[in-house]
Structure formats: C-alpha cells, structure tokens
C-alpha cells in the first residue's frame, strides 16, 4: 500500500527539487552555449559565415581556389549592381552536383527583381568524382557534408551547423586566430608564412597529393550535366560567367595529365550554353600561390581585378546581351 501510494505520488519533493535544479542548471548551460554561438564569426572556421549570412542575389561559385582567390569587394568595385557573394567551399564540399546546386538554390533570395551575376569557376576536379563509379550521384562524397544537410544557409547563428557540423572545439569560436579569416562577403583570407622555402615545401606536398588524387578521380558525366543544369538555372536569374582559375604550373601540369581535354570540354560547354569564358591559366606563373593551388591574397586581388574588369567590359560591350 505504502509502495503504491509512493508510486502514485512520484512527483514528490525529491523529484520537484531535482527537476527544478536540473532545469536551472540546463537553462544556464544553454544560455552560455547560445552566447558562445552568437560570437561565431569569420575566425571560427573557413565555412561558417557563408551559411550564416543573408540570402544573396549574385554569387561566386566553385571550390577553395575560388574561395581564397576571388575577392568580392574587388569585383564589386566594377559594378553598381547587387554585390557578388563568394559561395565557394572546397573540392570535397562543392564540386558541381546535386548537393551544391540545391545549396545554391537555398542561398539565393526568393525575389530577384534585378538580375544577378554568377561567376562559376571550373577546374577538372569540380567535374570529377573519386571511386570506380564516378557517375553514381548516390556515392558523391559531398552527400555526407553539411551542404547537403543544411536546409537553412542564411541565419546567424546557424545552430544546426554549429551543433552538428562544426569541426573545431567551441573554444575556437572565442579565439581570434588570424591565420584564416572568412570575410562577411565570403572571401577566405589566409595569412600564412610565405617564405620561399616554406611555400616550395607546401607546393611539393600539394603536387604529391594531387598526383595521388589523379589516380583516384575520374571525369563524372553526372557532374558535368549538373554543371549544365546549374548554368541553366542561374541564367534564369541573371548573367553567368565561366572562369578557369590560375594554378601553379606544376599543378597545372598534373591537371593537364589528368584531364587533357578539360579545356575542350569547357570551351564546348561555354559555346553551347552561350556564356563567356575567361581562362586565366595562361600566365599563371605571374601569380603567387600559398601552396600551388590557392592564390596568395595579393595575387587574389589581381585576379579578382581582372575578373571584375573582364565582366565590366562584356557588359559595356553588350549592355542588352543575354550575358
């Protein structure tokens, strides 16, 4: 009887006290967590701000070459239209495919009263996939990435990203490590040791790395068709420009060995979809790279200037063109 009574009145003093104190503790912990999340910014990691800034009308797309190499501020100085935002991630996250296309759609604003500007950077890796079945989109590595998982890429703090996809310890949010800084416009600025010996070492590491990659990767017809689809979609929202980013001659050599007909594929595509193409690989040796793949900020400025200038010239030449 005693036992039964206790069972019926389980919400007793002990339980009340436990729940009250646990709730208080939990609330204080949650408040601290939310406060830390509000501090997340461009220092936190190389991706966060891209999914924590408002929806955009104009985008720079591609992988880390574009993320570090194209500076929206410089490109925007040529145009009075909506500013472009760098929505490029990395070779793992943002090769062309269903994941990236869906994420692009999520990042674009619903109403586009003014036509946008879309700079799509391409390289052999952005239309390739690893493994023996490169055309099977179910096996694309980015399916496992946050770009596929996040349904919202424009709120700050972006709680789903910080809770489930943030790879650093949260203490990093409170540190202001200045090696890498992701600007609010999506440009990833890297400040690392640029002594010649150190840079050469990094280049030789990248060369080894890409030498291995070329054995793992193959051209993916599926990715290529998604690149077509991405261009078609973006053409409905504005003007599309294709850019082949410069790389260090040694990496360029590997890329040429890996996909000898890459230039031909892209040129054919540009003609078919009638978008202008800017191949910046010629004259690559004039630029400085942090590791052979990514442009140093000064060279990134120069390349961004050239891209901005190129677009401005096209627009000036053909103000009413379909471009």
């Amino acid at each position: 009887m005693e036992g039964k009574r206790r069972n019926l009145f389980i919400f007793n003093f002990d339980m009340k006290k436990f729940l009250k104190l646990s709730a208080l503790f939990l609330v204080l912990v949650l408040v601290a967590i939310v406060a830390v999340f509000f501090q997340a910014d461009g220092y936190s990691d190389p991706f966060y701000m891209r999914v924590a800034t408002p929806k955009q009308n104009s985008l720079i797309l591609g992988n880390s070459k574009a993320a570090q190499g194209l500076q929206p501020e410089v490109i925007n100085s040529f145009s009075k239209a909506d500013p472009v935002f760098n929505y490029s991630f990395s070779m793992v996250h943002s090769p062309y495919g269903p994941t990236y296309l869906n994420s692009i759609k999520r990042k674009l604003s619903e109403e586009n009263e003014t036509p946008g500007v879309f700079i799509l950077t391409v390289d052999p890796w952005s239309i390739s996939a690893p493994g023996s079945d490169p055309d099977n989109e179910d096996l694309f590595p980015e399916n496992e990435s946050f770009l596929n998982a996040l349904t919202n890429v424009s709120t700050r703090p972006n709680f789903p990203y910080l809770l489930s996809h943030y790879k650093n310890s949260y203490a990093k949010i409170l540190q202001k490590d200045t090696t890498a800084f992701l600007h609010d416009d999506g440009w990833l600025e890297i400040k690392i040791n640029m002594e010649e010996a150190v840079v050469n070492n990094r280049i030789s590491e990248k060369v080894t790395d890409f030498g291995k990659k070329m054995l793992e990767y193959q051209l993916s017809e599926t990715r290529l068709s998604y690149l077509y689809e991405t261009i078609d979609y973006l053409k409905q929202r504005g003007k599309v420009y294709l850019v082949i980013m410069p790389v260090h001659p040694e990496i360029r050599h590997i890329e040429e060995m890996y996909m000898p007909d890459f230039d031909g594929i892209i040129r054919k595509m540009a003609q078919e979809v009638t978008v202008p193409l800017f191949d910046m690989t010629r004259g690559s040796e004039r630029f400085t790279f942090t590791d052979g793949l990514h442009l140093a900020p000064e060279s990134g400025y120069e390349v961004s200037y050239k891209v901005g200038n190129w677009i401005e010239r096209i627009v000036r030449r053909n103000p009413n063109s379909i471009y």
Partner: protein, 482 residues
Amino acid sequence: MLFNSIEFALFLPVVFVLYWFVTQKGLRLQNALLIAASYFFYAWWDWRFLGLIVFSSSLDFWVGLRLAKTNKLNSRKGLLLLSILVNLGFLGFFKYFNFFAESFADAFTLLGKTMDPARLEIILPVGISFYTFQTLSYTIDVYRRKMEPTKDVLSFFAFVSFFPQLVAGPIERATNLLPQFDKERSFEYSAAVNGLRQVLWGLFKKVVIADNCAEIVDMAFADPSGHSGSNLLIGVLFFSFQIYGDFSGYSDMAIGMARLFGFNLKKNFAFPYFSRNIGEFWRRWHISLSTWFRDYLYIPLGGSRGSRVMQIRNVLIVFLVSGFWHGANWTFIVWGGVHALYFIPLVLLNRNRRYLKDITNTKTITWFKTGTQILVTFGLVTLAWIFFRAETLTHSIEYFEGLFSSSLWEVPTIINDLSSKLLVGFILFFIGIEWWGRRDEYAIETLWVDKPKWFQFGFYYSLTMIVFLFGGKAQEFIYFQF
C-alpha cells in the same frame, strides 16, 4: 546513438519523463518502457541486429526456465551447452569468421600453398561481445544454481538490453542486475544527483581527455617512421589516457545514467593507473570483464590450484582469451600474451594477491616506493598498449623500432600548438582529481560536496562548460568495436 550526441541528449530526458511520470504505476510497464527505449537506442545504429538480441534473450530465458524444471545432469548440461554454443556461435560468426578464414589461408601459405581466404562482408553488431557475456552469465549461474531463473520475460529482456550498458558494458551479472528489475524503484534525489555527477565526470573523461588525445595518437600511429622516438612516446602515453578516458568515461556515464532510473551497476574501473603491480591493475581495469573471466573461465580451469605449470597455463589461457575477446586480430592476442608475461612472475612469486586494499590504507609503504611501483606498472601497461592500438603486428613492431631509436631523446614536436598544450594541462588536472578521489566510486563523487551549494553548482557548471568548449572532435567509443 552516442552518449555525447545531441540525439541522446533528447532521448534521455524523454525516457526519464516517460519512466517516472507515465509508466511509474506499474513495474512491468516500466520494464516494458526500458525494453522499448533500449531497442530504439540500439536500432539507431542498425535495426537489423535487433533480431540477434531478441533471439539471444528468448533462448536464454527459455533455457533458464527449462533448467529450473529438470534435475537430470545430462539435460542440464545439454541446455547449458545449447546456450553457450548459440551465443558464442553468433559472436564467433560475426566477430571472428574472417579472422579464422584469413589465418587458415595464411597457414596454408606458410606451408607453401596459396589459398584465397573465404572472406565474408560481415558487419560487427555493436556491443555483441558485451550482451553475449551478460546473457551467458545468467544461464551459467542458473545452471550452477547460484540463482533462481526469472519467470518474468519483461524483466529478463530488460536485463539483457538495458540501454545504459548495452553496447559497451559494464558487463553486469544476472545476480546483481536482474533482481533490480523485479523490485519497485523509487526516485531518490541524492542517487539522481550522484548519477548526474558521475555522468558529467564520464563526459569530461571522454570528450575532453579521450577525444582530444585521439587526435595526437592518430597522428603518431598513422606514420610511426615519420616521427621521432619522443613523439612516439607522447603518442603512446596519450593513448593510455585516451583508452582510459574513453572506456572508463563510458562506464561512468552508464553507471550514472542507470542511477537516474533507480539502478545500481557494478563499478568497472577503480583508478587502474595508480596500481602498483599488474595483478592490482587487472583488479582495477575493466573489472566486469576481468571478474567474468575469473569466474567463468579461470576458476573452472582450476584457477590457482594445482601445479605451477597448471597455474601458468591457466593464466596464459585467460589472458590470451581476454585479448582475443577485444578483437579478431593478432595484435590483441599478443597484447593479452604480453600481459600474461607480466602477470606470470607474480604468480610464481605468490605476489599476485598483493595490494588488495586501497593504496592509502597501506601504511608500511613509503611514497617513493609506491610512486616507483606505480610508474613502473604504468610504463609496462603503456608499452603493451602499442599492440592494442596498432593495426597489425608489423605496424606495432615499426612503432617499437621508432620509439626505441636515438630520436627518443629529441625534443618532441607533436605538442606544438595551443590546444595540445592545453590538453597536457587537462591531463594533469585529470590525474590530480583522480588521485584525490581514488578511494571513492568515481573521482568527483565526494569532491567539494561539503562546500556550499553555490560552490558545488559553480564547479559542475565550470566542468560542463569545459566539456562544451574544449571537447575534441567527436569519436566513437573505442570499445564499441569490441
């Protein structure tokens, strides 16, 4: 579903509320809820293997009932054998099939004939080694008439699948845990707070110590030839803390969570790195497994009775089997063998039963002597971990070669950034707290409990924030793979 995941942070309060507020009116209802919650918890990984747990539970429940109904020795032996064969059969198939197939093929290759091993694409069901041993302990104890078989199917199924300890132990004995499912549970504030405190300490060990150590350990073990001996030394030292933090952290969380539901699980770790010899280490490390092997293998083999040769044989068998239990790889067998070699001299010198009591209760031992013994034991255990962590025997030899090279005396470079230096600080803090609380069930059980409430609250809050801010990249619990 990992204990340190967001999904589990939502799962646990839901089960807690249902348990104490919805199903509290009936014991059987509570047990049914625990079964449902445990199966859901398990199915989160892979629902396909739920059938195995259900089958093992059904079989052993039936075997228990049948054992109670017959006194014929042959029938009883047959029933026990059925339980052992089926349970170990599942374990053997899922965990060891490929190992035996490959070893068989290797043996042929050594004889000059080549043979392709018949490999199967087998997924190892999470926690199979743990629940198999737990359910086996029931049938063996019923067979030995150490306990009466339960007639309540819900109690038994809940005992086998109890989610806090389902996938990585502690391996509970039926004699301890099963009767708790038959008794009415009542909520007690002090037990629940104690449980949460232990969960918090387990989280700290897992997330701050183990997961952060893992990053450095992975670097060292990924390329032993590319690191100096001093870096490799740091690598294996950190692995000692990683595996302890990982596994004892899991056990702390399991025991703490069980307290929230009114259950008492057995202590699984008793500050093993403060042991003064290997015998003491094995009385303090993974206690639920060591005692399982002691009671169901070592003693039936004859234990410490019989000739010296028999004693050595028994020790060797137990350690080799224990090593093999950890994984289907020669590295684990060698790891067990190395510990047997550490242990046998103690048996021969009759010193394996020394230090049965707590370190501080021993008045005759000086600090210097105790400190040296602890360091030597820790050093031996740490060296053996190389076999445990290495992918293959060749890998472990490569690691040893790099470790004991002249570069052992170089300044280590693997601890080079702020976070790894911070980790060293956390490890020192961790050792300090563990030493302070070494007489308790877990390190912070009585730490500052005599201080004002606001002080205690502040300490737990700080610890929680450390877990949140400095937690390493989430890693699966190492013992899940076993």
